[in-house]
């Protein structure tokens, strides 16, 4: 089932949760809604589900206007952040719930319900837990039960609200891969809300980045990572260095600086850690930045260098291959020279200041 969200507005008192947001999701797609808390992503998901009504705008499911349909009528499966399992029911009865409350004429027979529940418990690998209560299961197991319960009614859309955020890192990664496999098997249109950029980029077909109630960027994980549209997206995806200053010379080899930037008083430049060229001597003829090595992390395939700019003590992260690291033979305290190989420039609008200084990311 396809989902179209058209010009949705939602206010809570003076707070604008969603501001004229439109989004289109194709049948069978897995889309992640990514954004910081307060960006409106959960509100959007709940509006798609029918658990929340928009102030204005429309939700179309398979082309049909469903804005005024109740959650029960929409044929959706919803997975909550804190599982929301029925604590007084066994795992079996939890999964069977949606089947048991169906209208009498649509309802399956007892035997069919049992078969369907057993099939789903097998899918989520909890066959032997059928008689237990939610309290007896671990967080990861509970979320699998919640997923089985949502899938029991054969929903045409599966909506997941930060489903893995309450779990520890290892379980989270496992469940993420597992969700992707289930999606590939069932081909059910899926919308996943998350604030974890790694999760969104890894699991989704397309990622929608939300900021302050608006859609900031929509695209495949690779296009979003390679071509962030705005400073906010750059900053939110993280793993990026930020340089700000007056644009005097063409610093980078393939800078996209345009006339607007030249006219602007100040600019922000984003450079990914692997896009910084490091040398022990200042490169001749080319401008460069002097930086001091603070710490060296050499525990991965790449060596990560924590640096501090000599001119203003701003922190900078650089990544070099192990081979290059051995050639450079760096040690903490050493002075090196940086030359960005690629840089994306934005005009430095005053309003973005607070946004960019909130410390996340870099």
């Amino acid at each position: 089932m396809s989902i179209q969200v058209e010009h949705i507005q939602k206010h809570y008192g003076p707070f604008t949760a969603l501001n004229d947001l439109s989004l289109s999701i194709a049948t069978g797609e897995l889309v992640a809604l990514l954004g910081p808390s307060g960006s409106g992503k959960t509100t959007l998901l709940r509006i798609i589900a029918g658990l929340e009504t928009p102030d204005s705008g429309a939700v179309r499911l398979n082309g049909e206007d469903s804005t005024n349909h109740s959650a029960a009528m929409r044929g959706i499966g919803f997975v909550f952040q804190h599982y929301a399992l029925f604590r007084h029911l066994t795992i079996f009865e939890n999964v069977a719930f949606g089947l048991r409350v169906q209208q009498r004429k649509l309802r399956l027979t007892r035997k069919q319900i049992r078969e369907r529940v057993e099939e789903l418990l097998h899918l989520v690998q909890l066959d032997s837990h059928a008689r237990m209560f939610p309290a007896q299961l671990s967080g990861g197991q509970r979320q699998r039960v919640a997923l089985a319960r949502a899938l029991a009614v054969k929903p045409k859309v599966l909506l997941l609200d930060e489903p893995f955020s309450a779990l520890d890192a290892r379980v989270r990664k496992e469940l993420r891969d597992w969700l992707r496999r289930i999606h590939d098997n069932l081909h059910v249109t899926t919308v996943l809300v998350t604030h974890d950029q790694e999760e969104a980029l890894e699991v989704a077909d397309r990622v929608a980045i939300l900021h302050a109630g608006s859609l900031e960027q929509l695209g495949t994980p690779q296009s979003i990572y390679d071509h962030p549209a705005t400073p906010f997206v750059y900053h939110f995806l993280g793993n990026v260095n930020l340089f700000r200053g007056r644009l005097l010379a063409d610093l980078s080899a393939n800078s996209q600086a345009n006339t607007e930037l030249r006219q602007a008083n100040t600019a922000i430049g984003f450079v990914r850690p692997h896009e910084l060229e490091i040398s022990l001597q200042p490169p001749q003829n080319d401008p460069s930045l002097a930086a001091k090595v603070i710490r060296i992390h050499a525990t991965g395939p790449l060596v990560r260098l924590e640096l501090s700019l000599m001119q203003n003590d701003d922190p900078v992260i650089a990544e070099v291959s192990r081979k290059q690291f051995e050639e450079l033979a760096l040690s903490p305290g050493e002075i090196i020279f940086l030359r960005p190989q690629a840089m994306r420039l934005f005009t430095d609008v005053g309003g973005e200041d607070s946004l960019l200084n909130d410390g996340a990311g870099i």
Partner: protein
């Protein structure tokens, strides 16, 4: 010898002789207070009731008036409790699950019977339904009797027991949140099946507790009922009123015999309350594990 013998114990765990004396004095004081003000009067009720022997006691409580009062008390409690259960669930549901104008006002209104003296409550009903009250002449014309009749007693009892179920449920439902109900909605359940299959099973312990408190209050209510009943023997006397009637007639044995029935009812509700608390503690312990994965 324990392993940790050489480790100094914090002073709070190893009281000095002086602290021991202080603690002992406090415990004795508390027990003495309880004995004089609670246990002694309670024992007196039964001692007085049986002072002239088992046979007299049995005759006292088998008098027509006492049996009638007992039946009326049961009837009034039997009406007041279900009404308050319905109201309590509806009010708590509205308050904890929806946002609407006047919500704070509703919460405040629920508390009024706790703040108002029961005698005043009784007088309010007399003022409204009494012969010279606002609705009195109209009701007389239609042959409806509220004041000095059983409907008035029921109304007064409902009034004073109004807050108990709602007061129990509101904080409980607030803490529980509406996650499970939303999950049920998303799974296609209608309002009725959400209530029976999800809400009610989750609130049952708090609800039972509220019912026990309501019943205890309904059985024992004196002030409000006294004003509206008119004390007509065999017609509008509940058990507490019957006790007063006997007492005013210097029929102490009968008064204490009737009082002993009320005391037994109170003790019984205390036991049920304790059992419920005990079962729900076990229940909550399981729930606590849900939060700690």
């Amino acid at each position: 010898m324990s392993v940790g013998h050489n480790l100094p114990t914090p002073s709070i765990l190893r009281p000095s002789a002086k602290q021991k004396v202080g603690r002992g004095v406090l415990i004795v004081l508390a027990l003495l207070f309880l004995a004089i003000f609670l246990v002694l009067p309670l024992v007196t009720v039964f001692v007085e009731a049986f002072s002239e022997g088992w046979k007299i006691y049995r005759n006292s409580i088998q008098q027509a008036d006492v049996l009638f009062a007992l039946r009326l008390t049961c009837l009034v409690t039997g009406i007041a409790v279900p009404l308050n259960v319905i109201f309590g669930i509806a009010a708590s549901w509205a308050i904890t699950r929806f946002d609407f104008h006047g919500k704070t006002l509703l919460i405040t209104l629920i508390d009024i019977p706790l703040a108002v003296s029961p005698v005043v409550a009784g007088m309010m009903y007399v003022e409204v339904f009494g012969l010279h009250g606002w609705l009195g002449p109209w009701m007389l014309a239609h042959n409806l009797h509220v004041i000095f009749a059983i409907p008035g007693i029921v109304l007064a009892t409902v009034f004073v027991t109004f807050p108990f179920v709602a007061r129990e449920l509101i904080p409980f439902m607030q803490a529980q949140g509406s996650d499970e109900e939303e999950a049920a909605t998303a799974l296609g359940a209608n309002g009725w099946s959400i209530f029976w299959r999800v809400t009610l099973p989750n609130i049952k312990w708090a609800l039972l507790y509220g019912i026990i408190l309501t019943a205890a209050r309904a059985i024992g209510e004196f002030g409000a009922v006294s004003v509206v009943s008119g004390h007509i023997r065999g017609q509008t006397t509940t058990l507490p009123l019957q006790v007063e009637i006997f007492y005013n007639e210097y029929n102490f044995t009968a008064a204490f015999a009737a009082a002993s029935l009320l005391t037994l009812a109170a003790l019984l509700t205390l036991v049920i309350k304790k059992v419920i608390e005990w079962s729900s503690v076990i229940h909550y312990r399981i729930e606590a594990e849900i939060i700690e994965p």
